[in-house]
Subunit: 721 residues, 2 copies
């Protein structure tokens, strides 16, 4: 009777605990249903001997306690004192029993500062496992990896995972303003609660740090690249320090964006000229003060001379002059400058895609050792698909970092389901051929030039906000996850990452995995198809970038859609071959030749590089016009096909997220149609050709879409980045 009562109580409490709002992300640690499996894991973790001599090691131990208690349904037994016989030993190599540490020496030697080792060291029927590393933070990464093994229900028998990050600085870039508005943020406001800081430090920072550390992210730029010098004032620096304090145990370094004109705006100087000694001295003092408050401060991210931001060119200096001045201030403290290559001339260029290359390539070799040039994946601006940026590989004497966009500025904000793993991977795996075959973007950013310190950088523009589930769309967290996993190891496959994420976020059942994974994996291509297929780009609405706007014109040319698609009576596409802007000349052979040549240029980049007649015969045998139309339709069809799939999971996932995703899929399907109907009808005014069989009739005439206005789209400001 008594036990029944207790069980009933459990059920009731359980029901409360189980309301799934997504807050826990992929660290749910829910009880493993399978008794046998649970027993295996219990046996392996029966007694845990965990080092706890630092905040990071205590964070690791706490995570293990929380994770295992949830997954296995019983409190973890930690050894009171170090016990070399415990079934699970957790700690840096220096804390392990000598015999075990000696045996792992060779493996550990390959793992560097942040790598970790998970190892089954069982002997003679005596089960024993080790989570170890050369450093405390490595141990924390190891604990998260160990918990991931269990969360994804992998066997621990023969466990042998050795892993080290390929890139040193793995950062989230928050485009967060001090008023908590997030530029291109679609999941609520900024999680940085500036007003109540430094007094109140919300526990959410710790959960943010946990989630990031669990996927190996080790840095966060807290503020928007459209920067505000106020964050560098005595009013705000203690607030920054308080955040840094909360993130520190999890190995996350804090960075800030440096407003180039800060010496004038808050420093009382008359100039911000980087060659003026007073300016350099001001920054040096400023940086010293930051490090006094935040000894492990990471450095600055700078957007200069771009979209109205001040920069060295305002004083007749170049990007190297500006970056080096900041670098000199940071160098004594070990900080770095990430200087963005995303620049805008004041004049409209003949081809926007060429600008960064033209400005930066001549500066190769001119940057200090602690400067990294941060380059977006493609030469325009986070389009659904872009070829890799031509700067990758083009500055052999400069450290180059990669900037990806996790937030879906051009991909349906956080109302559309678009898994970006394939997009990230496509860029990382792109072979630039700049140093011969195998010169992938990944290799270029992983490998700083010979003689330079390793300041390799990968950055993702965050999709995180105050929404309870962090990212708005329940599936958008997969993009945060995929970014982190690829930042740690660019060799991972998006499919494998998506499976990991599904198992931890939703369920380990094959039904859920087999249903949801195909949705995720088809989603990026679907978005390309229903919005900007075949190399079309930048044809979105003005300002908010949500929804179609192929008709946008009448503003600065390189902000319009017509500048990019160039549709006319003859055809469509941006001619970037020799007969056009010749942007292709920025790529190495044989990439240039492959894309220049219509016979070898892949369909997906066709209209990126070529202006082609409407009747151009495609590989499929169809005309270009028909192909465009059918791609739009195909995008709609794909989204539509997800709806019954998702509905089939009604009883396999929790109610709250089931409904949330259902509601957003309804919207995505409607808006995919909107893209299709708007774009096809608009292009039809040039092509004057019939819409092919298989494409649905538009719901409204073109004028409807042209005059449709959306108000108060989140994440919108004047700057478009």
């Amino acid at each position: 009777m008594r036990w029944l009562r207790v069980a009933a109580l459990c059920l009731v409490l359980g029901a409360f605990a189980r309301a799934e709002d997504g807050y826990r992300l992929w660290l749910r640690y829910d009880l493993i249903g399978d008794e046998a499996l649970r027993a295996d894991y219990r046996a392996a973790t029966q007694e845990v001997s965990a080092a706890d001599s630092s905040a990071t090691l205590r964070a690791a131990r706490d995570e293990l306690a929380t994770g295992l208690a949830g997954l296995l349904g019983q409190p973890v037994t930690f050894s009171k004192t170090e016990n070399p016989q415990a079934t699970l030993l957790v700690g840096p190599a220096r804390s392990l029993p000598a015999k075990i540490a000696d045996g792992l020496k060779a493996e550990l030697a390959r793992l560097g500062d942040e790598g970790y080792l998970l190892k089954d060291v069982s002997q003679a029927g005596q089960k024993q496992f080790v989570i170890t590393a050369n450093s405390d933070i490595g141990v924390l990464y190891g604990v998260f990896s160990f918990l991931r093994q269990i969360q994804t229900q992998r066997s621990l028998v023969g466990l042998n995972v050795a892993s080290a990050p390929a890139i040193k600085h793995r950062l989230l870039n928050h485009w967060d303003n001090l008023n908590r508005h997030v530029e291109r943020g679609y999941a609520g406001s900024s999680i940085w609660e500036w007003f109540v800081l430094p007094d109140y430090v919300t526990p959410r920072y710790r959960d943010y740090a946990r989630a990031n550390a669990s996927i190996g992210i080790n840095g966060a730029v807290l503020t928007n690249v459209n920067a505000d010098a106020t964050v560098l004032t005595p009013e705000f620096l203690p607030k920054v320090a308080a955040i840094a304090g909360a993130l520190r145990p999890y190995g996350i370094h804090v960075y800030l964006t440096a407003r180039f004109s800060a010496p004038v705006e808050i420093g009382g100087l008359k100039t911000a000229d980087p060659l003026d000694p007073a300016v350099g001295a001001w920054w040096k003092k400023q940086v010293d003060e930051i490090y006094r408050l935040i000894p492990d401060f990471g450095g600055f991210l700078v957007k200069a001379n771009s979209e109205g931001q001040p920069g060295p060119q305002s004083y007749g200096r170049n990007h190297a002059d500006g970056a080096n001045m900041l670098a000199d201030a940071l160098a004594p403290h070990g900080g770095i400058v990430m200087w963005r290559a995303f620049v805008y001339d004041n004049n409209v260029p003949d081809d926007r895609a060429k600008q960064a290359y033209n400005e930066f390539k001549p500066l190769d070799g001119k940057f200090r050792d602690n400067v990294v040039i941060q380059i977006k994946n493609g030469p325009i601006d986070f389009m659904p698909r872009e070829p890799f940026h031509p700067l990758f590989g083009a500055m052999p004497s400069t450290t180059l970092g990669l900037e990806l966009q996790i937030t879906q500025e051009y991909l349906g904000a956080s109302t559309h389901l678009v898994y970006l793993g394939p997009l990230f991977k496509e860029c990382l795996a792109s072979d630039t051929f700049t140093q011969g075959p195998g010169s992938t973007v990944a290799k270029i950013i992983e490998t700083p030039p010979a003689g330079r310190s390793n300041h390799s950088v990968i950055a993702g523009v965050s999709n995180i906000g105050t929404d309870r589930n962090w990212t708005g769309h329940p599936m958008a967290a997969a993009n945060w996850y995929a970014f982190g996993r690829l930042a740690w190891n660019p060799a991972l496959e998006p499919a494998a990452i998506s499976e990991e994420w599904i198992r931890q976020t939703f369920s380990n059942t094959s039904k859920v995995i087999d249903t949801l994974q195909p949705i995720l994996l088809s989603s990026r291509e679907a978005a390309v198809n229903y919005s900007m297929p075949l190399g079309l780009h930048h044809i979105m609405a003005e300002g908010h970038h949500y929804g179609p706007g192929p008709w946008v014109s009448g503003i600065r040319a390189d902000w319009t859609a017509t500048y990019y698609h160039r549709a006319d009576a003859q055809g469509i596409g941006f001619d970037r071959t020799k007969s056009g802007s010749n942007a292709l000349a920025q790529y190495s052979e044989p990439v240039r030749e492959k894309w220049e040549n219509l016979a070898t240029c892949p369909d997906e980049f066709l209209l990126w590089f070529h202006h082609l007649p409407w009747d151009y015969k495609m590989r499929s045998g169809r005309t270009l016009w028909d192909e465009i139309c059918l791609h739009y339709q195909h995008g709609v069809d794909t989204v539509r096909s997800w709806q019954p799939s998702w509905q089939s999971l009604k009883n396999d996932v929790d109610q709250e997220r089931f409904y949330h995703v259902s509601a957003l899929l309804t919207r995505q399907e409607r808006e995919a149609r909107e893209w299709r109907d708007a774009c096809i009808q608009y292009f039809e005014t040039f092509s004057k050709r019939p819409i092919p069989e298989g494409v649905e009739k538009p719901e409204h005439p073109l004028s409807y879409y042209e005059t449709l206005r959306r108000h108060y789209v989140p994440g919108t400001t004047n700057a478009s980045k």
Copy 2:
């Protein structure tokens, strides 16, 4: 063994469930620790027969299921079909067994549309309880009241609670913009997720509705009084309808703010002149469309000709012309217009406090039956203390509503602990004497003039935002709670309300109650003392209103501090007697005389009504100067005294909120000192008298406070409301 394992599991799950982030507000429904008490409640609720023929009744039943399961630790047994023998009968009178219904007839007759009855109808040892009402919504209110009895651990024996609201429309006013910025909001962004609406309806709306219904709030104005016509467009109305749909089962009607110039801005008309027939027709059509989508739409709230908002005066018409035009459009549907009396002339008045009275009193009797004039509690603007607004009782032929501010615009935002129950009650209980003694503000707003429909209104400007705990400061939810409870029954006492709230929100132990209640009850007076004692008002910082600014001048006079405190070499205070602005003439006798006469004017209004010499002898025997200084010190001392009290609860409340409140108290104490040091030193420049014994030395010189700037204070826009 097995039961031990299960118990361990429970503990683990419990630990997860127990992380208290404040989201559940006062509806926590945690297990009652006391076995005996739990047994009593279990006996009373052993079998529940609950009517479920409407969404509202189902909401009531669900709440009972959730609440009792949590409180009693076991699932509720509901009768499969109606069972007149069940221990708890829940439903409207029409659903009760005839014998019981007949017995309650007389009592029910007094309870109106929304009242409820909780009754112990046990007979001959057969326990039976009834929750009933004349309407479904009454049943829901009854269920919440019943759960409150249990949550506050009152005995159910002889249960006999009959309660009906004193005021018909009990509203929250959200000053929420469509971009989700909340004007004077300090708890994150607007909870209305406009962008994903109407597709996605967050479960948070339901929890918002539950919390409100639990305290009897039955309406929500979704949008800012500084209005935006966009909400009236076809893009937004379906979004409004979706919110209305989520709130409807809980009896919450949705209202909008009507931008007076909407006919021009979104209607394509050339004018918004209320006497132009085309304008009236446009609003009629607009209102018809709203009701087509939202059949129970509540009506409009209007801020017109105030702080730059358009209004009828822009067309040479008066407030009645404007309000009546909207009222005529709403009348056929049963909607109302709440027209705010908070108006600003374009010219600086001789006394800002007189303006609303001067503009509105002459219009008495000119408003339609469904117009309510919504008046702030005091004549200035939600100061820490104001005398009641002179319009109360001054328009005997007009329905007058009361507007209170729950959000702490002038009371430390949501970083200071200030329980507003006493402030609300002080206003409600104020006797205006306009119809002889007993003409309290409460009575005036409860009792519409003879011959007019009952459209009594009480409104509270919401302090709700997306912060997980809804209101920012963990104690600020007490103000939401107190507003709702007083709106239902203005006769309740703030002390009793605070005890109820503490019991439900923190703990039923006497230690917690006896420690926390004195803090809450002393907090409003503490805030008055450390910021604006003895009738001082409007001496806060410019723009954000957070912190001291007695030196503020040089802008429009009635937005400055110096306009209000009038400190000079002779003395301090605003002379509103006959020798001054004679604002006192707006009050009825004997109120006017009492406040005009220094011998009878209470200390707390002294400088509100009088300009007095620094050496004026106070009742205490001290000089005015010394008294001012000591009031500031006393405010600081009070806040400081809370800190050890709160620390003593470390093991009696959950960790998360314990730390949160501790951190904010540290800040409040520091900022109380800042108010003291800034104001005393500033006034000292006029008084030229020594700071009396017992007042601490200021931390910084006056210039420090005068030049202190706070950036990005939440809730700030240009309009000050």
